[in-house]
Amino acid sequence: MPFALLKHGLSADYPVEVDLPPPCDLKPRYDVVIIGAGGHGLAIAYYLAKYHGVTNVAVLEKAYLGGGNTARNTAVIRSNYLTSEGVRFYAESVRMFQELSNEFDFNIMYSERGQLTLAHTDATVRAFRQRAEVNKHFGGRTEMIDRQQIRELVPTLNLDPGHLPVIAGLWHIDGATARHDAVAWGYAKQAAKRGVEIHQLTEVQDLVVRNGRIEAVKTNRGTVQCGCVVQAIAGASSLLMAKAGIRAPIQTYPLQAMVTQPFKPFLDPLVSSSALHCYVQQTSRGEIVFGGGSDPYPLYNTRSTLDLKESLLGHAIEMFPFMANAKLMRQWAGMTDMTPDYSPIMGLSPVENYYLDAGWGTWGFKSTPICGKTMAELVASGGKVPALIAPFALERFSRFQQVNEMGATAASH
């Protein structure tokens, strides 16, 4: 019995620990307005307060806190990307995740399970080897492993699905998972403690831009003046950017995931196969979570489809035949803002005091801490772009300096 729980059992009244602040009135003006109270928006607010003493901050959320893609993602944390820019960035994120529970005084249940990605073709083996090498170059723990090693890691895995036998695997020891909601709550709790205001059910309906600067945001609860604005939403990044007069090379696709009933634990690593467009993990509750590729057409909707479920679960059974008897409990979707190079957009925008944290496709959750930290640095410095996020500027698309992560993103999230 951990000491922290004793007070709950021994005190007559429930010792209420307030994590999320109660609703309050909007002030007429804030130094920083952050649009979107997901993991990212809350992390930016927290690091602004913690490292830069900036606390006259409002985080505006149209629905409930952490209810967008923070709530809908499948909580994969990893850094085995392909480009130097990507690996450097995500590796730092993984390091920060490892500290969050103690930093928040709130258990995010960070669980280092390792991520295994399967290669079924020689082309994939080449790509994986490159990812392993880039990862190692930047201090990450990633190895190519053979069939025998895969068998030892995941004895229940079928190594010969259909006509695509597994040739090799990419074993990312740093691969992890965490309680995704808790990440948002932890940031919210600590940001609020430092004076940041979080306003739920507060939808930004328009932006007031004059002479290339943003002056105010219009919400369903009235207009708020601001020193600067950070856009930190997902699923409608380009629509909000359009309100600021900014064109974005983003297309929004639904991404679906599903979960079974809870079963006694049998699978520790996160396992995915790019050829089968399927990844599988067992949560701390014992449920099996499945995910795959984005839907084949852009759409602003979080509906579920039968087609995707059929193909995804067909592939899941090829990987783990015994799962045919497992029962699916729930299917859901998020909206992913896909960029042409499968990398995010962070940094400055054509509007002077409007900062972008957008285009997070299927890779937003795993970047939460580092994105929050670097974006806070950017905002606090009044627009000095930290080196770690400089490659992810919006203007890379017009300058043909993309950071191509397409190969390292499909079906691995």
């Binding site: 729980l5 999320l20 579920s304 479920k309 409990m329 729930r330």
Partner: protein, 967 residues
């Protein structure tokens, strides 16, 4: 405890007493009857404890007897989490409990319930991480306690399939509403599909009571069933569940081992409503069940649910159920009605006549239990003094059955998936569904109609609306009568000692929900995520309503404002096998596949295709490849290239289309000539290549990469949908088979079997294309040079492929012909420095990086990617694909290894192989521009971290003057 004997007929609608069966539970043998569910058979034997709860491992027995709760989940040898109240008992079936340590009856983990105070809502967020690193120790311990049943890891998938149905009207639920609506619609000519979860039609008519005499249900049921059964316009699916609603009435219906995928023009949901529990202390004990569950037990299975019952109710239905119980010999010790207002006077009189004590304005405050909490043993009845408040003194009664019903919650799941909204009607204390799409309707108690006549009238209305939409005859619908509310507004009675469960699946008590809101989790979605309410197997069937009420009260909002969490598919847990159906695992073989196997080829996947990697054993790869390669260089080899994409482009604008799609110029290409074709996308990135052969003024034959052709064909159609050129594009990849006959002796081989083509170098030069006959088969013959030798690509209709192969092999036998595989071809082309798109290029490669600027037509006004290429070419080049060599003794880099530039990564190896022809390890790699001059050394980090210094060389490695291919 209950007697194992069954009640006499007419109880036991589903069981066949003539056919007893034996099965086992937890190793003990039990008798049941054909038609029994596992749970009913066990209860018939007096066995109530079926499972242990998720968190506190409390004993649990059936709650709903309808497969709608987690209390009845049991373990079969091959299948965990099986609802015992739905799963049929069968001869020899082995059933076990789940989620316990030791035995189900004395679970060592049951102590956890005593520590519930130390495990407040979300306790795991508040502990286990201090000091730093502790979580790594705690997590595996906590993880061991996770989950419910055990998956059989050796289970082999069985045969499951799919079927497709198209109907005018799908009716979901065959209770009174569903039967009436189906009948009305069918009588007017609609083709109706009637979907029922139970093994029999009738729904609540089978188990509920609608009048004091108890005859109404039986007669109505008989009348409706007689008309529906055998109706030519009604197809009935029993034991079938419509498990989701997808856009445009696309309905997956699961029955046995099949999923029907139904498209319905109209859909009418008549799925009824879920009986709701009352929240009080120990409301989870075995023997405490929903009132409808007790009725189901008696009427379906002839199981007497107890000897002495207390019925706790918030509506008139509880009174009727009390009559049912008494008629079957159960002593009703008390009817506890939470309402204070006088009820139906006839019912009250009947109760009095039958000497059933009535306690108005009271509730059960606590269920009492035997030692070990194995069964309810009594109740503490208290007068209600306010919302959720009771008097300090009460009455204790002994009982072995407690039936509870706080009212009903519509079966809203499918409807919310269709965009339906739940609005709370304060006066009726009930959620109502609105905002449905026009082609989806609801009728009966799911629509808030509970009086039987109103249910039927609502069904008639629903049928009429469907018929009107279908353009069929519309009967006149009946009028509705006034009805009393069925929901008690606040059936929640918190107890200071807790165990007043709101969510049975997750062991959540009243205080857990309230405390979640006090910690700031005020939104219903946040309450769910923090407390896990509604996240268990029953997905909030019984917890959504009390949670909405508690959260609304705790946060000072209305219940309507608070709402319930989103319902998503599936309606009930579905096996992956049902969704997946038969595994389709498409792959492609070329028409020469058999010949490769006969020749001992090691096959490899290439996209969807199977191709020979080389001919020989896997372990002899290097030797086989080198020998095959030498053979092509010195004599002649044959490779199957049928998988190469083939596109026929015909029409007056054929050349114009290619001008726009590919970087090169094709307008002036002479008939009978071929030209290399490179394709870029709008970003100027190289995405495919092939050869364009001009067969006629208006006819091109274009090849594409094996893996790229399908996408490319789509792209071509997409572009031409915009451009509207007068051109016809056909993907002939599978229609044609092809081989490449390559090597210095290839002309001699071909000459033996070729008619109608002058093969001399002058008449048929390098890059020419000719039509003629090879082996007597009409063929397109192209002179190509991918492997760097004199060579002919011969394309023939796929059906003649084996013949072509055989004739060429025979013709070449005397000259030593032998087949070679893809891996050998890769080596040969590497020696020539030819890139393979997608192996030597990546998602960023533009033509200048791979020295392909020669393949760009500069005079054309447009091609896809032109603008981007011009922008890219104006920028300094950052990296280049270079050829490199290493001495044969060096460690060989593998494809994917990195090229370094100081502390940075400047590129990666894309191709690398030992070449016997060159006598060196040769390869292609990206390197920084300043590293790319021939003669320079590039550091490559190979396996084990060693760094080798490779020499950059001019490409190609072999035959730099290209003399061999142009012979």
């Amino acid at each position: 405890m209950n007697s194992p004997t069954r009640l006499p007929a007419p109880m036991g609608l589903l069981i066949d007493r003539e056919r007893p069966l034996r099965f086992s539970f937890e190793g003990q043998s039990y008798q049941g009857f054909e038609g029994d569910s596992v749970a009913s058979a066990l209860l018939g034997n007096g066995r109530w404890l079926l499972s242990r709860s998720f968190k506190y491992h409390r004993p649990r027995g059936p709650l709903s007897m309808a497969g709608q709760d987690a209390n009845s989940l049991v373990q079969l040898p091959e299948e965990p989490n099986v609802p015992a109240d739905l799963h049929p008992a069968s001869e020899g079936l082995k059933v076990a409990g789940q989620n316990f340590s030791g035995s189900l009856d004395s679970d060592r983990d049951a102590y956890l319930g005593k520590f519930s105070r130390f495990m407040p809502v979300g306790f795991y967020y508040r502990a286990f991480y201090k000091p730093k690193g502790m979580w790594k120790i705690w997590e595996p311990l906590i993880r061991k306690k996770a989950g419910l049943g055990v998956l059989d890891l050796d289970f082999k998938p069985q045969y499951y399939d799919k079927a497709y149905l198209f109907v005018d009207l799908a009716v979901i639920g065959a209770g009174p509403a569903g039967l009436r609506a189906a009948l009305d619609a069918a009588n007017s000519g609609a083709k109706v599909l009637l979907i029922e979860q139970q093994p029999v039609l009738g729904g609540s008519l089978n188990y509920a009571r609608f009048d004091i005499a108890g005859t109404r249900a039986t007669s109505l049921r008989a009348e409706l069933l007689a008309a529906v059964e055998g109706h030519p316009n009604i197809q009935v699916l029993l034991r079938a569940t419509c498990n989701a609603w997808f856009t445009d009435n696309y309905l997956p219906v699961i029955q046995h081992k099949r999923m029907y995928k139904v498209r319905a023009t109209r859909c009418l949901v008549a799925a009824g409503s879920f009986d709701q529990p009352v929240v009080f202390r120990n409301n989870d004990l075995p023997g405490v069940m929903l009132t409808s569950a007790a009725q189901r037990l008696m009427k379906f299975y002839a199981v007497k649910p107890g000897q002495r019952a207390v019925v706790l109710t918030g509506n008139d239905d509880g009174y009727l159920a009390a009559l049912d119980l008494q008629e079957q010999g159960v002593t009703v010790a008390a009817l506890v009605d939470m309402r204070t207002t006088p009820v139906d006077s006839e019912l009250a009189t009947e109760l009095k006549r039958r000497q059933i004590p009535l306690h108005l304005g009271s509730t059960v405050y606590e269920a009492l239990h035997e030692a070990g909490m194995r069964h309810v043993s009594g109740v503490d009845i208290r007068p209600i003094t306010g919302q959720g408040k009771v008097a300090t003194q009460g009455l204790q009664l002994a009982c072995d059955l407690l039936c509870m019903s706080a009212g009903y919650m519509p079966v809203y799941q499918l409807l919310c998936q269709a965009g339906g909204k739940l609005a709370y009607e304060e006066t009726r204390a009930e959620f109502a569904i609105s905002n449905l799409p026009t082609h989806l309707d609801i009728a009966g108690s799911v629509n808030g109609r509970h009086l039987l006549d109103n249910v039927l009238a609502d069904a008639a209305r629903g049928a009429a609306e469907a018929l009107a939409a279908l353009g069929l005859d519309v009967p006149t619908p009946a009028a509705f009568a006034a009805e009393r509310p069925v929901n008690f507004p606040w059936p929640i009675f918190p107890h200071p000692k807790g165990k007043d469960f709101v969510d049975f699946d997750e062991d959540l008590q009243v205080r857990d929900i309230v405390n979640a809101t006090r910690s700031g989790y005020r939104d219903i979605q946040l309450v769910k995520r923090f407390s896990t309410v509604g996240m268990g197997p029953s997905q909030g069937r019984h917890s959504a309503l009390p949670t909405a009420r508690l959260v609304a009260h705790a946060t000072g909002r209305s219940i309507g404002e608070t709402g319930v969490t989103t319902a998503r598919p599936p309606f009930e847990a579905e096996k992956l096998a049902h969704v997946a159906g038969r595994a389709f695992d498409p792959y492609r073989q070329t028409p020469m596949h058999r010949r490769h196997l006969e020749a001992g080829a090691k096959m490899m996947p290439a996209g969807l295709w199977q191709r020979p990697a080389f001919y020989g054993k896997a372990e002899d790869r290097d030797r086989c490849m080198q020998e095959e390669a030498r053979h092509v260089r010195e004599k002649v080899g044959l490779i199957d290239v049928s998988t190469l994409g083939g596109l026929d482009v015909r029409g007056p604008d054929a050349a114009e289309l290619l001008e726009r799609l590919y970087t090169f110029g094709f307008a002036k290409l002479a008939v009978g000539r071929t030209r290399y074709a490179l394709m870029t996308n709008e970003h100027g990135v190289v995405i495919d290549d092939g050869v364009c052969a001009r067969l006629g003024e208006r006819h091109f034959y274009v090849s594409a990469t094996t893996s790229g052709v399908d996408r490319l064909y789509q792209q071509m159609l997409k572009w031409n949908a915009q451009w509207r050129l007068d051109v016809d594009i056909t993907n002939v990849t599978a229609a044609l088979a092809a081989v490449n006959l390559a090597g210095p002796l290839s002309r001699q081989v071909l000459a033996k079997v070729c008619e109608g083509i002058d093969l001399s170098a002058e008449a048929f030069p390098y890059l020419g294309v000719r039509l003629g006959k090879v082996a007597g088969i009409a063929a397109r013959v192209l002179r190509v040079g991918f492997v760097g030798e004199l060579g002919y690509e011969i394309h023939v209709p796929a059906r003649y492929a084996e013949r072509l192969w055989d004739v060429l092999m025979e013709a070449g036998a005397a000259l030593g012909i032998r087949p070679f595989g893809v891996e050998t071809q890769r080596l040969l082309r590497l020696e020539k420095g030819h890139v393979i798109i997608s192996q030597d290029t990546d998602g960023m490669t533009h033509p200048a990086e791979i020295d392909m600027q020669w393949a760009i037509g500069r005079k054309k006004p447009f091609f896809v990617g032109k603008r981007s290429i011009e922008i890219l070419e104006a920028q300094p080049l950052k990296r280049k694909l270079v050829g490199f060599t290493l001495p044969p003794t060096s460690a060989q880099p593998l494809e994917g290894h990195l090229v370094l530039d100081g502390a940075d990564i400047s590129g990666n190896v894309t191709s690398c192989e030992y070449s016997r022809t060159v006598g060196q390890i040769i390869g292609l790699a990206y390197a920084a521009t300043h590293q790319a001059t021939p003669g320079m050394h590039i550091p490559i980090r190979v396996e084990g971290g060693e760094i080798v210094q490779a020499t950059v060389v001019q490409l190609p490695f072999h035959d730099p003057e290209n003399q061999r291919q142009e012979l």
